[in-house]
Amino acid sequence: MLDVAYLIPALPLAGFVVLVCLGRRAGDPGAGWVATSAIGLAFLSSFIAYVQLLGKDGEARAVVKPIFTWIRAGGFEVEAGLLVDQLSLTMALFVTGVGTLIHLYSIGYMKGDERFPRFFVYLNLFAFSMLVLVLGDSFLLTFLGWEGVGACSYLLVSFWFERNSAASAGKKAFVVNRVGDFGFMLAMFLVFATFGTLDYQGVLSRVDVLTATTATAIALLLFVGACGKSAQLPLFVWLPDAMEGPTPVSALIHAATMVTAGVYLMARVSPILALSEEALTVIAVVGALTAFFAATVACAQNDIKRVLAYSTVSQLGYMFLAVGSGAYVAAVFHMVTHAFFKALLFLGAGSVIHGLHDQQDMKHMGALRRLMPVTAVTFIIGWLAIAGVPPFAGFWSKDDILLAAYDKSPLLWGVGVVTALLTAYYMSRQVFLVFYGGERWRKAPTAGAHAGGGGAAHDAKHADDAGTGGHGAHGDAPHEGPWVMTLPLVVLASLAALGGLLNLPFGESARLEHWLEPVFGEALRHVEASSAHKQALAAAAGGAALVGIAIAYGIFIRGRRTTAFEPPVLQRAWGIDALYSALIEKPGHALSTFAARVVDARVIDGAVNGVASLVRAGGGQLRKVQTGYVRNYALGVAFGATVLLGLVVMRAGA
C-alpha cells in the first residue's frame, strides 16, 4: 500500500542522475524535457498516493514508508523513511504540481542559455531535496532536504556567476540561511537529548514529557531556522538579493516552495508549539511585523522582481501569523494559494522581462497589456488574488488568517488589515506601471546599459553581450513567449482564481480543513464566532483591499503619475542591510584580521620564535653542535632518547 510514495522523491532524483550523466549531451531543450517529465511523473505519483490515502480512514492516513538506516551510533539512530500523511502529501502535491509548470516554463525561458542542461540538473536536484524535506519522517531527514534546497538555491541564484551581484547573492542566501540552520540544529540536539530520537512520530506522540521551558526552547529554535528559510525578520535580507537568479528560480524556489519550508516545519511540530503560548506569541508577532514591514518596502521598489520578492516576504509573514494564532490549516491554505498566485506573478514578470529583453525597471515599462495579452490577463488575475479581492483565492486564505489573528489579538488583526491595504496598493502600482499607462519602454535605455547601477536585480540573461547592447529595447517590440511559457501562466491563473474552492468557509465545503485536521489534532485552534462577526471581519479585509486598489488607481491611472511615495528609507528596506554591514560584517572582519595578523602572527608565532632565539642565544657555548641541520638535531634527539630510555628502564628493572 502506498508504495507509489517512494516514486515521489525518486523520480526527480532519477532525473538529476540521468542529467548529470548525460551532461552537455542532454542538450537544449532535451534536458528540459527530461527534467520536466521527471517532476511531472512525480506529480502523478503524488496524486495516486493522494487517492490511495483517501481510501483510508482519517486516523490511519499517516503511513511511514521505511527506506534504510542512514546513521547509527550508540543510542542515536536515524532510519530514513517517508512520512506520508495529509500534510506532507498536500505539500508534495503543490510542490510537484507548481514545480512541473515552472519546469515547463523554464524550457522556454532558458532557451539559448549556454548552460541550459545544467540549469535543469539543479532544478531536479532542488525538486528532490524539497520532496525529501516535506516527506522525511524525521527532523534529520527534513534537515537533509532543508540544506539540500539551500544548496540548490545557492547554485541557482548564482547561476549566472559571471555577474558579481549574482555570485554575491548566492553566497549571501546560503550564509544567512546557515544562521537559521544554527537554530534548527540546536533544536534537534535538544529534541534528541529529551526524547532520544529525532523521528517525528517518536517525538510528537510523546510531547507530554516536555516541560514548558523545553517546549518553548525547541519551538523558538526551530522558528529561528524557519526565519532563515522563510525570510522573516531579522533574517529576510537574502531573499530580495536572491532575485539575481533566473526568474523561474525565483518563482519555484523563492516564492512557491522552498521559502514555505519554514511554515511547513512549524505546522509539522504543531504539538510542540501547542505547549508554549510564549513561542506562539513570538511567532505571531514576528509574522505580523514582517508582513507589515515587507509590504511597506514593496511599495517603494522599482524592480519588477524585487516588488514580488518583498511581497513574498510579506505573505510568508501572514503564514507565520496564522501559525502563531494556532490556525495551521489557514497557514497551509495560504501557502497553497500563495504558491499559485505568486508563482503566476513571477512567471508573468519573467514573461515581461523576456518580452522586453531583460528590462526589469517598472519605470521603463507600461501599456504592455496590448502587446502581451496572455501575460497581462493572467497577471491581472494574480494581482486580484494576492490583493484579496473576492472571489479570488487569496481573499479566502487571507480571510482565514485574519479571523484567527483577531481571535489571538485584535492588534495583530489590525496590523494584518493594514498590510492587506498596502498589499493591494503595491500590487496595483505594479500592474498599472507595467500594463497600463504610456509605452515608456520605447525610450528606455537598454537593459544592458542599465545593469551596472541601482543595485537592482537585473535578469540579464545574456550577461556576455549585455554590455555591448546586443539586445536593446529599441529593436523589436515586446512580444509574448512560446506556448511552454504561456500555458503555465494560464493554468496557474485558473488555480489562482479558483483556489479558494479548496477551503470555502461555508458549511461542509471546508475540504482542506477536514483533510488536515487529523494532523494537527488538539494543536489546531477553532475560532468560535458568529457568522455576523466573521462577515464583518471579511468585509473589513475586503474593504482594505479595495481602498488600496483605489488609492493606486487614483495615483497611477487618474493621476498619470509614475512615482509616488517612494522615500529612500523604504527603497533601502529601512537600512537593515546597512545595519548588518556596520554591526556584524565590519567588526567581524576586523576581529578576523586581528586574529590573523596579531594573535597568530605576532603573539603565538612571536612566542614560538622568541623561544627559539632564546635557546639559540643561551646555547652560545654549544655553537659547535648547532649545525643548523635538522637531521643532526634528529639524530641527537634519537640518541638522547635512547640514553634516557635505557636509564629509566634499568631503574625500573632494578
Binding site: 543510542g75 534529520l140 559571471e162 634528529a634 634516557l644
Partner: protein
C-alpha cells in the same frame, strides 16, 4: 573472500612500502617511469590490502583483530604488536587510499627517486602508527613520519619551504619530547612491584597503575605531543606554514593522514591509558577545541592565499574532532573517528584541487584568480562538491561526522556544543566567499581560457568524490565497524571512573525506535484485524521510554 587467518596482513601492510622504498632507492635515477611505477604499484597494493582488511574485519567485534605479536626487545618489554579495531581501521584504509592518489596525482618536477622513496617511508610510518599496540613501537613509527615529511616539505616545497619545514620539525619534536618522558614514566610506574615491564598498551590500560595527579601530568605530556600534531589551538601555527609551503602531495598527506596521528593518539592513548585524567581535564580540552573551531574559521576568512585558507579550515575541523573525543559519548567519539576519515578525504581533495589551480596559474593568491568556472566547469563542479562536503552539507560525508560530534557533545557539554555550532555558519562563510572570488565573476587576464581537468586529474578525483558522496548517503557500514570499538572504549572509561554516559546517548534512543517499530507492527496487525484503537498508542510509547536500562536491543 579474504585471506587466510594466519596471513600476517597487518605486518605485510607495513612492510610493503618499506620494501618498495628500498627497491626505489636501488633503482637508477635515469629510470623515472620505473621508479614511479614501483612506487605506485606498492602503494596501490597497500591500498588493496587495506580494503581487503576492511572487508575481512568483523563488524560487531569491539576488540582488536588481526593481532600479530612478536617479542622484540624482551628485556625492556618491547614487542612488535600490531592490531586493528574499529577506531584505527578506517584510518588505515584512508592512508591506503590517499597515498596512491598523492603519489600519482600531482606532478613532481625534480628528483623523483628520493621523493617516491620518502613517500613510501612516510606511508609505512603512518600506517604503522595506527596499527601499533605497543607504546614504544608507536612512538617509533610516530617519530619516523617526521623525517620524510620534513624532507618532502623542505625538498619539494615552495618559496618559504625551509622555514616551514624546520618549524614543522621542531614544533613536533618539542611535543614528542614530552611524550617520550611521559611514556617512560608511565611504563616505569606501571612496572612497580612484581609486574614485568611492558609497553603493551592493552596490558598498561588493564593495570591502570597511575592515578590522581601523576596520571594527569603524564596524560598532559601525551596530550602535548598530540596537540601539536592535531594541531590544537594555540600550538597550531606550524600548520599553515607547513601546508602552504609543502608540495601538493605533501599537503594532502599532511592534512589527510598525518594530523590524524594526533587525534588518533589522543583517543587511543589518552583515553585508554588515562581515563580518569581524561575525564578530569575534558573541560580544558573541550574549551581549546571550541576556540580552535571559531578561531580557525575566523582566521581562514581573511586569508589571501587559497592554500593557507584551506590549512586554517583544518584547524577548525580538527577542533570538531577533539570536541567529539572529549564529549565521552558514543555519538561524539564515533563522530570524531568518522570525521578523521571525512576530513582526510575532503581536505585532501581540496589540496589536490588547489594544486591543480596552481599548476595552471602559478599562483595561489585569491586576488589574482577570478572566473575560473568559466573555462573549467568540471574542476569547478568537483570543487563545489568537495567544498559543500567540507561545509558539512547533509548528504555528503562531512555532515555525518560533524552532526554526530555536535549531538554527542550536546548531551554532555551543552554550551560547548552550542558555541561549536557557530563554526558551522563560519565554515560556509569562508569557503563560499573564497569560491566566489576564485571561480565566479568574469575571468580576466591569465584566468581566461585555462584547460579543464585532464584525464589524470579526473582519475585522481573520482575515487574521492565517490567516497564523499557514499559516506554521506550510506555511512552505516563504516559506523557499524566503528561503533562497537567506541562503545568498548566508553565502557572502559566508565569502568575506571565515576563518569557515566547519559542513557539517551547510550541506548535509550534505540529502544525508543524499537518500541515504535513494535507499535507500528501492532497497529498494522490491528488494522488487518479490522480493529482500530488509536488510544493505546500512548501507553506503548511510554513503555518504550522506560526500557532504557535494558541495554541494546539489536545486538
Amino acid at each position: 573472500m579474504g585471506v587466510g587467518s594466519d596471513f600476517p596482513i597487518l605486518s605485510t601492510i607495513v612492510a610493503v612500502p618499506v620494501l618498495a622504498a628500498v627497491v626505489v632507492a636501488l633503482l637508477p635515477r635515469s629510470r623515472p617511469d620505473l621508479i614511479r611505477n614501483v612506487g605506485l604499484a606498492a602503494s596501490l597494493a597497500v591500498g588493496v590490502l587495506t580494503v581487503v582488511l576492511a572487508i575481512d574485519f568483523e563488524a560487531g567485534v569491539p576488540g582488536y583483530q588481526f593481532v600479530s605479536e612478536h617479542r622484540w626487545i624482551e628485556d625492556f618489554g618491547i614487542s612488535w604488536i600490531l592490531g586493528v579495531d574499529g577506531i584505527s581501521l578506517f584510518l588505515v584504509v584512508l592512508s591506503g587510499v590517499l597515498f596512491p592518489i598523492a603519489l600519482y596525482g600531482p606532478k613532481v618536477h625534480k628528483d623523483l627517486k628520493s621523493y617516491v622513496a620518502w613517500m613510501l617511508v612516510l606511508e609505512a610510518g603512518c600506517i604503522g602508527s595506527f596499527l601499533s599496540l605497543d607504546l614504544f613501537l608507536f612512538f617509533l613509527f610516530f617519530e619516523i613520519t617526521l623525517v620524510p615529511m620534513y624532507f618532502i616539505i623542505g625538498g619539494w616545497g615552495y618559496e618559504n619551504r625551509v622555514y616551514a619545514s624546520v618549524k614543522f620539525f621542531l614544533y613536533t619534536l618539542f611535543g614528542s619530547a614530552f611524550m617520550l618522558v611521559g611514556m617512560l614514566a608511565l611504563v616505569y610506574l606501571s612496572a612497580k612491584g612484581r609486574a614485568p615491564v611492558t609497553f603493551d598498551i592493552r596490558e598498561l590500560a588493564d593495570r591502570g597503575a597511575v592515578a590522581g595527579n601523576t596520571a594527569r601530568w603524564i596524560f598532559l605530556a601525551f596530550v602535548a605531543a598530540f596537540a601539536v600534531k592535531v594541531p590544537l589551538f594555540p600550538v597550531h601555527t606550524w600548520l599553515p606554514d607547513a601546508h602552504t609551503e609543502a608540495p601538493t602531495a605533501g599537503s594532502v598527506i599532511l592534512a589527510g593522514v598525518l594530523l590524524k596521528l594526533g587525534t588518533y593518539g589522543i583517543v587511543r592513548f589518552g583515553l585508554t591509558l588515562f581515563p580518569q585524567a581524561a575525564v578530569d581535564l575534558a573541560p580544558l580540552l573541550l574549551t581549546l577545541a571550541v576556540i580552535g573551531i571559531i578561531y580557525g574559521a575566523l582566521v581562514a576568512t581573511v586569508q589571501k592565499d587559497l592554500k593557507r585558507l584551506v590549512a586554517y579550515s583544518s584547524v577548525a575541523h580538527l577542533g570538531f574532532i577533539v570536541l567529539g573525543t572529549f564529549a565521552f559519548t558514543n555519538q561524539g567519539l564515533s563522530g570524531s573517528v568518522l570525521q578523521m576519515v571525512n576530513h582526510g578525504l575532503s581536505t585532501g581533495a581540496l589540496f589536490l584541487l588547489v594544486g591543480m589551480i596552481y599548476e595552471r596559474r602559478h599562483t595561489r593568491q585569491i586576488a589574482e584568480l577570478n572566473g575560473l568556472q568559466k573555462s573549467m566547469p568540471l574542476l569547478a563542479a568537483v570543487f563545489t562538491v568537495v567544498m559543500l562536503s567540507s561545509i558539512g552539507l547533509p548528504g555528503l560525508n562531512g555532515f555525518v561526522g560533524e552532526f554526530l560530534i555536535l549531538i554527542g557533545t550536546f548531551v554532555t557539554h551543552r554550551w560547548w556544543a552550542v558555541v561549536a555550532t557557530v563554526g558551522v555558519i563560519l565554515a560556509a562563510l569562508y569557503l563560499l566567499w573564497a569560491y566566489q572570488r576564485v571561480f565566479h565573476g568574469t575571468p580576466t587576464g591569465d584566468n581566461v581560457g585555462l584547460p579543464d581537468m585532464t584525464r589524470r586529474e579526473k582519475t585522481v578525483m573520482a575515487p574521492l568524490v565517490v567516497l564523499i558522496v557514499f559516506l554521506g548517503v550510506y555511512p552505516k557500514p563504516v559506523l557499524d565497524r566503528i561503533d562497537p570499538s567506541v562503545d568498548r572504549l566508553i565502557d572502559h572509561v566508565e569502568s575506571r571512573t565515576d563518569y557515566r554516559q547519559p542513557p539517551v546517548a547510550a541506548d535509550l534512543g534505540r529502544n525508543v525506535r524499537a518500541a515504535e517499530r513494535g507499535i507500528a507492527a501492532q497497529r498494522a496487525a490491528r488494522e488487518a484485524e479490522g480493529h482500530q484503537d488509536a488510544g493505546e498508542d500512548h501507553g506503548g510509547a511510554g513503555e518504550g521510554g522506560g526500557e532504557g536500562e535494558h541495554g541494546r536491543v539489536d545486538e
